[in-house]
């Protein structure tokens, strides 16, 4: 059977013009590419990987993907070094306490926040409500520490946007002057003023104008509240 089958199948021959058609197609295709064996999807995967690496690297520089304490502290130190020392106080506390934080889905009630803030500062909560941009909600109010220094810290959120009101007692020789000051580093906007006994910061990722407007709106009520404790 094999012989007959072979003989029969081998009678079929290619049409004479096919060889020329193939030669023309080869000429049109041009010279072989050295790495033509790399499938397109591998190249696409490599490109996507490089893109992800670039995005991740930029994000890391911007403070994202910082999961360990040491990497977070390194980031805070890096951005703090780019602004004036007094302005960095509010910035550092904001980033450490408000940015690197997992927030619960349901924030505490105003009463609960008043309790965590303590009786000395409890008046701040009703005073500042209504002076932050629309959509922002008070999600945290407490006294925290950064490098051993205590800060009164109120945090407002609108989705992923975070805004902090940070208040620190003035140390000896610490003064930012009579004028409101502002700085920015990366996505953070810092605006600050001082009272006789305190340094007051608004730190956010709003635009410089909006951040300054928040500070201007908050300043009278915050001054009034602080005046009570400053005597």
């Amino acid at each position: 059977m094999t012989g007959r089958l072979q003989e029969t199948v081998k009678k079929v021959t290619a049409p004479p013009e096919l060889a020329e058609r193939i030669r023309s197609a080869i000429l049109a295709a041009g010279p072989p590419r050295r790495y033509s064996w790399i499938p397109v999807y591998y190249a696409a995967a490599i490109a996507a990987g490089l893109m992800a690496l670039a995005v991740g690297s930029v994000g890391y520089q911007q403070g994202y993907f910082r999961f360990s304490d040491s990497s977070r502290q390194a980031y805070i130190s890096a951005i703090a070094s780019r602004v004036d020392h007094l302005m960095s106080l509010g910035l550092c506390d904001h980033v450490q306490c408000a940015v690197f934080r997992e927030y619960p889905k349901d924030p505490p009630t105003l009463e609960e926040l008043g309790q965590t803030l303590g009786p000395a500062n409890a008046d701040l909560i009703p005073a500042v409500q209504g002076h932050v941009p629309e959509g922002y909600r008070l999600v945290m109010a407490h006294v925290c520490q950064y490098k051993g220094r205590p800060f009164t810290h109120l945090t407002f959120r609108d989705g992923k946007q975070v805004l902090s009101l940070v208040i620190a007692r003035r140390g000896v020789g610490e003064s930012i002057g009579d004028q409101v000051r502002e700085s920015s580093v990366q996505r953070y906007q810092i605006a600050a003023f001082e009272t006789p006994g305190h340094l007051v910061y608004v730190v956010s990722d709003l635009t410089p104008e909006k951040n300054m407007r928040v500070l201007a709106d908050l300043a009278p009520t915050v001054r009034a509240v602080l005046r009570k404790s400053e005597g």
Partner: protein, 186 residues
Amino acid sequence: MPEPGERSLMSRFENEAMPHMNDLFRTATRMMGERSRAEDVLQETYLQAWKSFHSFEPGTNCRAWLFKILFHCVHHARRKDMRFPLVKEPNDALDATLASPPAVPEQLTDEEILAALDKIPADFRSVVLLVDVEEFAYKEVAEILAIPIGTVMSRLSRGRKLLRGYLTDAAVSYGIGGDAENRQGA
């Protein structure tokens, strides 16, 4: 105008690959069922071979290398069309239905033999073509089709039995072969 390096590569390709065109074409024709489709597959085969010709090692078996590319293109074309369902695994039921194969009657025409061959499921037909027609060794067929050598042997056995069965049926319809002999004997 091709560069000198490209001309040399084309010359090698011409000498080593193009002489196998008839072998590839007849296999493509049997696998695709139509000459026009076989021509398209063959052109694609040579184009793919040309694109990766730099990776072909001179002195190795160019014919087997081309057949490997051919079956890749055949498989791709069939999947694209979904017109030729694949028989993936040998069907044991086939063996049971096939009696011990008689010899192929001499009276059968070429067309009847080719028709019988074309009726075999593609996976079996490819092995029969490569072993019985193109005379590749089992090991080469295993590499060309990227299947284990044991699968080559079982597909060949089943493919041959099926072919004999179809050829016998054709012979019987002309009054020759199995039943005719039985009638004569009676």
